[in-house]
Symmetry: C2
Subunit: 159 residues, 2 copies
């Protein structure tokens, strides 16, 4: 897709060859009972996930801290849904594409291409300003999304 | 689409039966040389339109006031593209689905259904808060979008 041009000043990227096929990565991303098992790096947990996987459909998760505090991430929505290949969602729009007023909007572009090892996995977080990118990086994007991907792989191997 | 549930507290709606077929309405909405002729109620003009009509593609127009002042509306993007039936775009995301930092985001859902007269035309402006809806209404949503639709119909009849 020509629109997947990464802007290093605004985007954060996690890219890795992983040894599970795209079809299982897709299931981990699109089935709530699976997503809840890997989406949040331990010791945090995902305790609820509302997912209507089609453009304009809701994507909403609730995370729980080790202290038991629940953090509702607010309702985002899906933008592009290409089975086993590409999933795009954003926090800038809620269900029905309604603009949200969250103070930390980003769009996530997840792609999974078949590769020799299994899948060339790429997650891009797309921000509207260098400040929001920096804030996401300071929140631990690379460690956090990387640890979550490790959990996804572990789960996928059991499916 | 189940997501097209209108929320009267947040949405503005223009709905009208018009006597041109959906195919011509679609062309007026998706071909820049046509859109520039009707999109802005006279005596304002649309003097530039950048349109890549696919999900994630740019939608950007520049309007000119009667005094000759150009107003770049900023780059939005398309979200759903169903030829001759449905066009969804937003100012909350720019090309590539990148969140924007505009202070007046809304999503527009344009539908055109075949009807006895020609087309059942509906334009819905979807806002994130009652304040933004009120602001859009005060800016003259109904008169403005209605006058633009009159111009669209007039143009469509010449195509």
């Amino acid at each position: 897709m020509t629109y997947d041009v990464i802007d290093p000043a605004l985007d954060l990227v996690l890219e890795r060859d992983i040894d599970v096929p795209p079809e299982l990565v897709w299931r981990c991303w699109t089935e709530p009972q699976h997503l809840m098992q890997w989406f949040t790096p331990k010791p945090y947990e995902t305790v609820d996930a509302e997912m209507d996987v089609r453009p304009g459909g809701i994507f909403r998760v609730v995370m729980r801290s080790p202290e038991g505090e629940d953090m509702d991430q607010g309702a985002g929505c899906y933008l592009e849904v290409v089975t086993n290949r590409r999933l795009v969602w954003t926090g800038a729009l809620g269900p029905g594409f309604r603009p949200t007023d969250g103070d930390f909007p980003f769009t996530a572009i997840i792609t999974m291409e078949p590769s020799a090892s299994g899948t060339r996995y790429r997650a891009v977080a797309v921000h509207g300003s260098p400040e929001l990118k920096a804030r996401h990086e300071e929140m631990g994007f690379h460690d956090g999304w990387g640890a979550a991907l490790d959990q996804l792989i572990e789960l996928a191997k059991t499916l």
